[in-house]
Symmetry: C2
Subunit: 344 residues, 2 copies
DNA sequence: GGCAAACAGGAAAACGTTTACCCCACTGTA
DNA sequence: TACAGTGGGGTAAACGTTTTCCTGTTTGCC
């Protein structure tokens, strides 16, 4: 493949000069520059990134670790991250961690070998699983930004949605509609929850809303399962509605889960919102297109991505910057899947 | 950052030896190997991929260009490609082309600079837009595999679903149920279609099914729009059902579109499948969870990804291999969204 | 015991850049 | 006219590997 040397010969200059016009590093006279540019396009020359990265000791690329590339929410996140990162001149290297410790570790090893300039990580749940990973990066002083799932008190930049408040809002809304028996289908994996994990924070918000209104949360109405996403909502709802027929509302901690809820309700002959109110979380595009349109808590995905990139750049440019945790507001979006309970 | 040189010093050997134990390139005696391994783990050494790639003249990474990372179908494809490629020892570099010529070209330039070993491309539509791109790669003898959207007669490997047959099956099924007025909502961008583009192939399948049964396709029942996905299905259906109330079935050329169809039908008070049959295409997980469960044509996403990787590897290992086009079978999945028309 | 062959490991070149350093030929000033 | 300063461009080192070639030691065989 044609290298900078070929270009230099063709343009009758030294390779240093070629490099200079390539990078605008130093003034070169117009005629020489012209010769070089002509040679470049004549030879169809493309610089060799590995060589450049080796010499520059930077790759202009950042690793992005998500639980799954085809998850509704995370693929949206991936999309905006790709946009914001590339706008900043960085390449995004997307990887699926599958929420598995070992896979995450392996990927991070790989990213370290590739000398990424930074890493954006959605930690695995529970977040301790990702602690070692994050430390490996930090001890090599590779900037890290956590997204969506946080590690409270840990010296690393984090950008999170205000899951507690979001869940509070949705719960308060349901309660104020008159619902007293609210089923909850959890997005977690069923393991012990920690602070700053969305599942845990959302549960906290739910509890706060109920406590404030003097209502006790019936733990038997809180469900999680081994299923994934939609399936979890589906099976969870089948269980909830048959075992607790007095339930009048279900809070699905994810829109994907809510899709499963709607389906199960329909199969059991419960009409939404007439017999059962349903709220989701995330506000995927899908949420406003299911039947009925889903009441949900909107996450600021775009802002999440922008903020993450911003913190990342700051850390890259000034390694001394102290880590920062930013929390972004959610927004309750009321649509058609919620209504007052039938028999108050 | 600690390099191979440091390891060599620490282990009291030459860097060549370190390299050898790293790559298992040549026998090294057990005690020396032990010293090296100890030094490696003591120093927490990770090889420098840019340097390695520069020297080896290969990067073990392949570019994967998809229209959008957060599209339902393409994110599924991305997911399986990541799996199959990484199983083969390759890194996947995912990029969104946005179905735009210029963006695609820019991305490919970038991938060339990074010296990817190969490229998997879902061409933009219409596929001529991607011709230059593909040629740029081929003239640098970078293996290319086209997925989902083909370029018939072009000397490049391609792996496609049998869209024509799939659409034929679904249409035949609808016709045999007794439907005569079938609306079609196209997945294309509204531009002129070409052979091997899914939109075009599916239309051909529809036409064949109707022709075989002596029925003429009413072109005014075929719709495409500027909207994206779900929105297109939604707006398209609103138009179709109000302008052509005698329609008894809609074939959405994508499951995402079908979601929009269901929503529009519901808003207009058409019950599915009682008043309107709906078929999708793709068989996303979502398809079996919307209400009613969607009749659709299953695409072999998994096989698509596996086959693409297979062809890719073959080309990488033997550059002389002649390109190959493989077409994978689809499968009609009958669920609840289709039924005989009300008044035959 | 001597010699060829095999064997383990080292020295150094090469991959394609960027950049520090150097040099030559001007220009402008005293 | 001489000389310092500057501007344009070249030389070569360095980035961290892999790999070819070479060397010195050991082995095996007669």
């Amino acid at each position: 493949m044609t290298s900078i040397k070929t270009v230099a010969q063709q343009a009758q200059v030294s390779i240093a000069t070629v490099s200079r016009v390539l990078n605008g590093t130093k003034y070169v006279s117009p005629d020489v520059e012209k010769r070089v540019l002509e040679a470049i396009s004549a030879l169809n020359y493309q610089p060799n990134a590995p060589a450049r990265n080796l010499r520059r000791q930077q790759t202009l690329s950042v690793g992005v670790l998500l639980p799954r590339l085809n998850d509704f929410f995370f693929s949206d996140l991936a999309y905006v991250l790709e946009k914001t990162l590339s706008a900043a001149g960085y390449n995004a290297l997307f990887c699926s961690t599958e929420n598995e410790e070992e896979k995450e570790a392996a990927i991070v090893n790989n990213l370290i070998m590739h000398r990424v300039d930074a890493v954006i990580l959605v930690p695995s749940v529970p977040v301790q699983k990702s602690l070692a990973t994050v430390n490996r990066l930090l001890e090599r002083s590779i900037p890290v930004v956590l997204v969506d799932r946080g590690m409270p008190g840990f010296a690393v930049s984090q950008v999170l949605s205000n899951n507690e408040q979001g869940a509070y809002d949705a719960t308060a809304y349901l309660l104020d509609l008159g619902h007293r028996y609210i089923g909850v289908i959890d997005s977690g994996t069923g393991t012990a929850k920690l602070a700053a994990e969305p599942g845990h924070e959302r549960m906290k918000g739910i509890q706060r809303a109920m406590r404030e209104r003097g209502i006790a949360l019936d733990n038997s109405l809180v469900i999680f399962d081994q299923f994934e996403n939609i399936e979890m909502g589906y099976h969870g709802t089948l269980r909830l509605l048959t075992e607790h027929p007095h339930i009048s509302a279900i809070f699905a901690l994810t829109d994907a889960i809510a899709v499963g809820v709607l389906r199960a309700a329909s199969e059991l002959g419960w009409r939404v919102p007439h017999d059962l109110s349903v709220s989701g979380f995330d506000d995927l595009i899908l949420a406003s297109h299911v039947i009925p349109r889903l009441t949900t808590v909107a996450q600021p995905v775009q802002a999440l991505g922008e903020k993450a990139t911003e913190l990342l750049l700051r850390q890259i440019h000034d390694p001394e910057t102290s880590p920062e945790t930013v929390m972004l507001d959610t927004r309750l979006v009321i649509r058609e899947s919620t209504a007052p309970p039938r028999s108050p």
